[in-house]
């Protein structure tokens, strides 16, 4: 049972220590599956870890010193977001902490004076705008099901939340593509080679600075999949959630490999439309029941 303060701290510490490795494993599997889909052998599963260790072997090159401060703050707040989530904290605070983390990343990109990173930062702002309504609606949905914003209470409540808020789950899976930086919504920066913005948001980050961005991305991946798990949260049968997470992630890889990048207008409109339809219908039905 997830009760008492020691357990909460244990979960938070567990997240801080294990999440980068779990995240690296997930991203590694992602790259392997992507390669197999394209008829290639693909890199080793531990490649994301090699990449990050390598980045810390490189020279520290930074455009302005503020960049390091912003990127470190980004990493700290992403870790804080995940630790708060996995320790059963308030889901609204989790969402705001995540937004703050991304604001730091955007400030970092703006501080590095370069047209590419400026356009990338602008697009990251748009991605933030596109995602935010759906996240808030999801928090409201969880509240209407379990009458609590605390992740701990949502997990311990009887029944699977997804049975009552299926449309909100669909909406979250939609914005997950934006959050995971996957095609067709990889506007700000992309893991794949070459795009029209060089590397967009991360163009001016080199060596250890880029390493911190990558580590933050691993933490964020685990945290976002944690939100997917929360829809199937059940204290007695946690494996249902794990199965759902695996299916959702493979769906993301499929979408990543079969779509091309869209313009920001399409991303913003479709994300808000999904949030409006899924949120209004699902919350409306719940309110009438």
């Amino acid at each position: 049972m997830i009760t008492g303060i020691p357990f909460e701290i244990l979960f938070a510490i567990g997240f801080v220590i294990l999440a980068p490795f779990i995240g690296a494993f997930i991203v590694g599997i992602d790259r392997k599956v992507t390669a197999r889909k394209q008829g290639r052998v693909g890199p080793p599963v531990l490649q994301p870890l090699y990449d990050i260790f390598k980045l810390f072997e490189k020279e520290k090159v930074v455009v302005t010193n503020e960049v390091n401060f912003y990127i470190l703050s980004h990493l700290i707040f992403v870790v804080f977001t995940g630790a708060l989530f996995f320790s059963g904290g308030d889901i609204l605070l989790v969402i705001f902490a995540l937004t703050l983390a991304h604001v730091f990343l955007i400030l970092g990109a703006y501080a590095a004076v370069s047209p590419y990173s400026h356009v990338g930062a602008g697009r990251e702002l748009l991605q933030l705008m596109a995602v935010e309504p759906m996240l808030i609606i999801a928090a409201a949905g969880f509240y209407m099901v379990t009458e609590s914003f605390a992740v701990k209470d949502i997990v311990l409540s009887p029944g699977l939340p997804v049975m009552t808020i299926p449309l909100i789950f669909v909406g979250i899976v939609f914005v997950l593509t934006i959050k995971l930086r996957k095609s067709p919504f990889d506007l700000a920066t992309s893991h794949h080679a070459h795009q029209e913005l060089v590397e967009g948001l991360t163009t001016e980050f080199a060596g250890p600075t880029l390493g911190m961005v990558e580590i933050a991305h691993l933490y964020e991946t685990v945290f976002l999949l944690g939100i997917v798990w929360l829809f199937f949260a059940s204290a007695s049968m946690p494996w249902i959630g794990v199965l759902a997470v695996i299916i959702v992630y493979f769906l993301e890889i499929l979408v990543d490999n079969t779509t091309t990048r869209v313009r920001w207008q399409v991303m913003l409109r479709s994300a808000w439309l999904v949030a409006l339809v899924a949120g209004a219908v699902n919350l409306g039905v719940l309110a009438l029941m």
């Binding site: 790259r31 390669a35 394209q38 008829g39 290639r40 052998v41 693909g42 890199p43 080793p44 490649q47 090699y50 990449d51 260790f53 390598k54 072997e57 490189k58 020279e59 520290k60 090159v61 080679a193 070459h194 060089v198 590397e199 991360t202 163009t203 001016e204 980050f205 080199a206 060596g207 880029l210």
Partner: protein, 148 residues
């Protein structure tokens, strides 16, 4: 234990070539040769890159670009000159605007011969460059993170 040889990120620049070696460099990334299985990623961004793959000779216009790209790459870094034009200027060396090979502007670590260079020899050249990259990293670590 060094990780730089397990994850060399490449930037590719075409100086003043006939485009033949370019196509061969890109062929290395296709499913047949699949450079990514060695952890090699084509970044297109000098600040993320460890290996500078350069094809074609250097002319008056590309000189500043090559120098700038090289300077933006964080240490340790290696330069691989792909094809005969990148080595000496090749068939273009007598042209009025050609300065010669890549080593006229920046220090080259590995020369890959051929016109056009075969994907197999490009991969071989990059793998040789990784040895030099590791040496440079070790030297950098000895000097406490400073180059040279």
């Amino acid at each position: 234990m060094s990780y730089i040889t397990k994850s060399p990120w490449v930037i590719h620049y075409d100086g003043s070539s006939c485009n033949g070696c370019d196509i061969e460099v890109l062929a290395c990334l296709t499913p047949l040769y699949d450079l990514e299985r060695f952890g090699i990623v084509n970044t297109g961004n000098p600040k993320h890159a460890d290996v500078f793959l350069i094809t074609g000779g250097i002319n008056e216009q590309s000189r500043a670009v090559v120098k700038n790209t090289y300077d933006q790459m964080p240490d340790p870094k290696v330069v691989v000159a792909v094809g005969i034009c990148a080595a000496t200027g090749g068939v273009f060396r007598e042209c009025y605007n050609i300065m010669g090979g890549v080593n006229e502007v920046i220090p080259v670590d590995v020369y890959v011969p051929g016109c056009a260079a075969r994907p197999e020899s490009i991969i071989d050249g990059v793998v040789r460059a990784l040895g030099i990259l590791e040496e440079k990293r070790a030297k950098m670590a000895e000097n406490g993170g400073d180059k040279k």
